[in-house]
């Protein structure tokens, strides 16, 4: 699948605005039938060590996952990654929680089906400590997102964004910031590959 690419070079002052998009959810290219573990390590570039140390809660389509090695991904699905959460319900939601029985009705059951292996874009949401640890990396390497959401962000936070977005490069060519509107991006694919470099990055 081919996507147009938008590269933004911004001051890190407005990084928090982009982080909200990761909470809402973005897409990562993958293949149907992959295990959620493989998706995270291979397609998201998150290490095995980080998963075992920091990712304590994982939901697929709203259901908590306990077996990350035997649960597979499907087209149209969404995975959410979170650290360990407070509260009894936070504890229930953890991977392999001792309180799993209390949310059993929504738990994702392991599924060993290998699936079609077809190319898909799988949804991903990052929360709390995972967001603060890894959010920046995702923007550096690029995420798939509806172009409409980028223009909405520019429109809603125009003052902050216009004064802190330093460069806009679309498909390798420098552009005016004003081009990031619904009209200005008419010719681009509906889903774009968005990269954001924040100014204090090397």
């Amino acid at each position: 699948m081919a996507y147009d690419t938008i590269l933004l070079k911004c001051s890190s002052i407005i990084m928090y605005l982009f982080m909200q998009e990761l909470q809402k959810g973005i897409y990562i290219p993958s293949n149907e039938g992959k295990t959620i573990y493989s998706f995270i390590t291979e397609d998201c570039g998150i290490s095995d060590g980080y998963i075992s140390e920091k990712i304590k809660t994982m939901l697929i389509d709203g259901g908590p996952v306990d077996d990350i090695f035997n649960t597979t991904i499907k087209d149209g699905g969404v995975c959410a990654l979170s650290g360990a959460m407070p509260g009894i319900v936070g504890a229930m939601m953890r991977i392999g929680s001792p309180y799993a029985a209390m949310r059993e009705s929504i738990t994702v059951k392991p599924d060993n089906s290998s699936g079609s292996k077809k190319e898909i874009k799988f949804g991903l949401k990052l929360f709390n400590t995972i967001l603060s640890d890894k959010g920046r990396d995702f923007f550096k390497h690029g995420i798939l997102i509806e172009k409409k959401r980028i223009s909405e962000l520019f429109e809603r936070y125009s003052d902050e964004v216009y004064s802190n977005c330093l460069e806009v490069i679309i498909n390798g060519s420098p552009c005016e910031k004003q081009q990031i509107t619904e009209n200005g991006m008419k010719s681009l694919s509906e889903i774009v590959n968005l990269k954001v470099e924040f100014e204090d990055e090397n």
Partner: protein
């Protein structure tokens, strides 16, 4: 902490103060003590707003000592909201100061003659009660400013706002925090209304000239406290998640799980959750020069609280908790953090429970009084409560009353108390606790996550789907016990995963009192408390039929999972079988 202070407001000639040695309830603190006194001394059929009811204010067993996290205060009575026994607890400075003053409890008794209002001052020299009619209908923040002018900001206050004076069933009791703001509330069950019937506007606690309470074995205590703190600091939840984002970090996760009640419990997901999430609000607080990492009392090492500034960088409220962000946010369709923080401030100022207020406004929205998402309308409704208009008094009486008056079928309440921020159709296990808790729908009743550490009621196999009833039982037992220590419930996360941290907490208690308690003793204490509470409620007229969720939770499907509550009545009735 070997004294009980009794203040009888019915005495001819004005309030009568009696100080007695705590021999009858020795060894009890916090919820254990409030429950024991209410069960022992209040007639179960007493009218909660009448002369026979009592209000018991008790610090925990370790409050006033150097023990970390020991700043919770328990407030108990017969609840005007549920009609059953009630314990509501709060953070802030009051528990530590009251314990240093040597009191295991303050018991407010009788009923003040209509129209009179008093303030109580307690310091090392004794107890003074004075008429305080000049404080009538003052909101909490205004009251505390006046106290600051007369007593300075080193004292701690326990107060009620206009809602308590009007004896509204959702009235809270405020405790001041480290900055001497009335931000920490014993919110649930209308405890503020009972304080209102006693005619006491504020209790001013001054521990000037007093030291921390000293342990029986200082060395062992110091060692145990050190291990306990280390455990909290190294745990992912208490060491990083909570300090960074506060309890509101749960918004995204519970929303994603489809258990985030939206628009008066008609949906499990709020489309704009990311706008009000802990992550977004913490970023906003930092940007506006507020502090997202802040303790609510001295000795807190988790620091899950914070401050929230308005657009001009001026203090607007404390950092709203998860339950508040949900109640005034998703449950009312409101996605503006500034509106939510304003509602949080108004709740604190008038002295109202944010959960019941958010639920009542959600019901008013379903009834068509205002639209879901109408933030200014929600602010106006809470202001009506502060003014004491007829509509305001209805809203201030909580979700159950509001639903009845406005003719709304969907009242998310158990025993008259509004459900917190987890929909039991998505998360069935929490529904077991909501249904069976002695307190009415209450997430903190089964909060303490030590079930398999304590192994009370048998070990539950995490790999089996059965067991949510057993888990709820164990959680409620453990929570009742921890509520008696004065420890913040958030220690639960560390003691779940780290048995050595749990042991350190028991070692602290043993070193402080010279005891040899084991985990079994902790479980026995929890069972004893729950047994007293169940017995009281039974005598007050509660039956098994009160241990049920509203019928619509069994029939109306909740999107996105489209589930209903499926735990059977038989299972619910087995929760307290021991």
């Amino acid at each position: 902490m070997d004294k009980i202070l009794r203040i009888n407001m019915s005495e001819k000639g004005g309030p009568a103060v009696k100080e007695e040695k705590n021999s009858k309830y020795a060894g009890m603190g916090g919820r254990a003590l409030t429950t024991a006194i209410i069960a022992d001394e209040v007639h179960p059929m007493a009218n909660p707003l009448g002369e026979e009811n009592k209000l018991v204010i008790a610090p925990g067993l370790l409050s006033g000592s150097a023990a970390a996290m020991s700043g919770r205060i328990s407030i108990g009575c017969k609840s005007p909201l549920t009609g059953g026994i009630k314990e509501a607890n709060a953070g802030g400075q009051a528990a530590q100061v009251l314990a240093r003053l040597g009191y295991a409890a303050i018991v407010l008794e009788g009923k003040v003659p209509d129209g009179e209002l008093y303030k109580v001052l307690i310091n090392k020299d004794g107890v003074k009660i004075e008429k305080a009619n000049e404080y009538k209908m003052l909101p909490n923040y205004d009251l505390i400013e006046k106290i600051k002018a007369s007593h300075g900001d080193k004292v701690a206050c326990i107060s009620i706002g206009p809602a308590g004076e009007m004896k509204l069933a959702a009235a809270s009791i405020a405790c001041t925090d480290m900055e001497f703001r009335p931000t920490r509330h014993a919110g649930r069950g209308g405890v503020g209304a009972v304080m209102g019937t006693k005619g006491i506007k504020v209790i001013i606690l001054d521990d000037a000239g007093l030291e921390n309470r000293q342990p029986a074995d200082p060395e062992k205590f110091k060692e145990a406290n050190k291990k306990f703190v280390e455990g909290l600091r190294t745990h992912a939840v208490t060491g990083s998640g909570l300090p960074a984002y506060g309890t509101n970090v749960l918004v995204n996760l519970i929303n994603e799980a489809g258990g985030f009640p939206t628009n008066n419990f008609t949906g499990g997901r709020f489309a704009n959750a990311s706008k009000i999430s802990g992550e977004t609000i913490a970023d906003l607080e930092t940007k506006r020069g507020a502090n997202p990492t802040h303790g609510c009392h001295r000795g807190c090492v988790i620091r899950c609280s914070g401050t929230y500034n308005d657009k001009n960088g001026k203090f607007l409220s404390k950092q709203p908790e998860y339950e508040t962000v949900w109640a005034h946010g998703a449950n009312c369709g409101i996605d503006d953090p500034d509106i939510i923080a304003t509602l949080d401030f108004l709740d604190d100022n008038y002295g109202l429970d944010t959960i019941d207020m958010g639920a009542a406004i959600g019901i008013a929205m379903e009834a068509g009084l205002l639209k879901f998402g109408d933030g200014q309308g929600a602010i106006n409704l809470i202001k009506e409560v502060g003014k004491g208009t007829p509509l305001g008094r209805i809203i201030g009486s909580g979700a159950a009353v509001t639903a009845k008056v406005l003719g709304v079928e969907h009242a998310p309440v158990v025993k008259g108390q509004a459900m917190p921020a987890y929909d039991p159709r998505a998360i069935q296990g929490i529904g077991v606790t909501y249904a069976t808790s002695t307190q009415g729908a209450d997430h903190t009743a089964g909060y303490c996550i030590t079930a398999n550490v304590l192994k009370v009621g048998g070990f539950v196999d995490p790999l089996k789907s059965e067991g949510q009833v057993d888990l709820s039982r164990n959680l409620q037992i453990a929570t009742a016990a921890i509520d008696s220590t004065g420890m913040c419930l958030f220690i639960a996360f560390a003691i779940l995963d780290q048995p050595e941290t749990f042991q350190a907490m028991i070692d602290m208690l043993n070193a402080f009192y010279g005891l040899k308690m084991t985990a079994d003793d902790v479980a026995a204490l929890g069972k004893k408390i729950l047994t007293m509470e169940r017995d009281f409620n039974k005598k007050a007229g509660f039956t098994a039929l009160d241990d049920r969720l509203p019928r619509y939770f069994y029939t109306d499907k909740l999107p996105p999972h489209n589930g209903v509550f499926t735990v059977t009545d038989k299972e619910l009735d087995s929760v307290f079988n021991w």
